[in-house]
Symmetry: C2
Subunit: 200 residues, 2 copies
DNA sequence: TTACATACATACATCATGTATGTATCGTGG
DNA sequence: CCACGATACATACATGATGTATGTATGTAA
């Protein structure tokens, strides 16, 4: 069976990212030697360093892959909703669920900022998780759902609170009540965003 | 000059933490070999591995040291204020200023979660930065400044938003306006916390 | 002062990364 | 279709970092 160069490349690349993804998620970036990744992928280190400049580059690919799937899930929830308001509620729930996955916690939220550097990580986030949030808030402003205001910074703050909420819930001994508490606290924020108090 | 064992120990330990602190802050945990730390501290790797189980343990000490100073600064601001309300406003400003320091950004906010693991890092935070925030909110509830509510989860979410605000401001091309925007967004939240809307 | 514990230095074993080099497979112009 | 260049990968190696084992000096207490 004769395979094209492109097929060979893309199949080994995906073998590498899939193997790396599972290992990184389970044990964290630095605890996983490249040797173990390539063995799991059925290739050698030569293949890895042919396709990627270094281990970081492979890690970045894994992060982007995960982020892409992440936002696709959120977008699906938003798309299925009858209107924006209920879509946003559904998206919040989906977000909290997705962030609870070890893959997200370890790879995206814990390792990524330290391994890639905060700026690099921020750039990736900007066009994935953060991007969809900004879009959502922009639509909300356009539809008059929330008061007109710049949403870039707001989106970052909301996102970090959402992430923290997911992490807190994931490591709580009573996830259900913790989740309720978190949703209450976030609700207070959104209430403020929806109906800003008259100027003091 | 004859020095006691205890003196010898504590002086080399502090030499190690001070050297490590500066190097970690400047280049990040993994970019700094232990060799460089001990050279800067004027000792050898033997001393390091005598006092610390591994490089991580030294790093943990550095993190705790920084966190302790951090919360001391915040507490000072709170203590100097005439009342809690103005103290909280001052503390917010101080918090944003302190988080802008590279030492905090690199060591505490970027490296610590990945190097120590999220749970370990969370435990440290709990009795330092987060601890003072919880105390503050508890006092605010006691004094009737904010509505009665569980503050543990709320504090975590607020803290993460505050940290994110500091990081966003630090890497913004126009820090002043970004800071204003962040303070506005946070203000909406606090407004919601102060005056929860009537139940829907 | 003798015997032990603590503080540190030196030397070494292990292991991970990245690079250099060699080989097989693929694509392509003649 | 074949010869040549390029791409995909494997193997071998050089480097550097961590942690441990061992040796030595200094403090401490009987």
């Amino acid at each position: 069976m004769r395979r094209s160069q492109h097929d060979r490349s893309s199949s080994t690349r995906s073998a590498l990212t899939t193997a790396a993804r599972a290992l990184f998620a389970a044990r964290g970036y630095h605890a996983v030697p490249a040797d173990e990744i390539v063995r799991a992928a059925g290739v050698t280190r030569g293949a890895l360093y042919h396709h990627y400049a270094d281990k970081q580059a492979l890690f970045r690919d894994v992060v982007v892959e995960i982020e892409t799937e992440f936002t696709a899930e959120i977008d699906a929830v938003l798309g299925d909703a009858p209107d924006l308001a209920t879509g946003m509620v559904g998206a919040l729930g989906a977000f909290l669920d997705i962030c609870a996955r070890p893959e997200i916690r370890q790879v995206v939220l814990t390792d990524a900022p330290a391994v890639l550097g905060w700026n690099e990580w921020r750039a990736i986030e900007a066009e994935h998780g953060l991007g969809t949030l900004v879009d959502m808030l922009t639509r909300a402003v356009d539809e008059g759902l929330i008061a007109p205001q710049p949403v870039d910074v707001l989106a970052r703050l909301v996102l970090s609170a959402l992430i923290e909420a997911a992490l807190v819930i994931a490591s709580a001994e009573d996830p259900a009540s913790t989740r309720a508490e978190a949703e209450h606290a976030l609700g207070l924020w959104f209430a403020g965003i929806l109906a800003p108090p008259p100027e003091a």
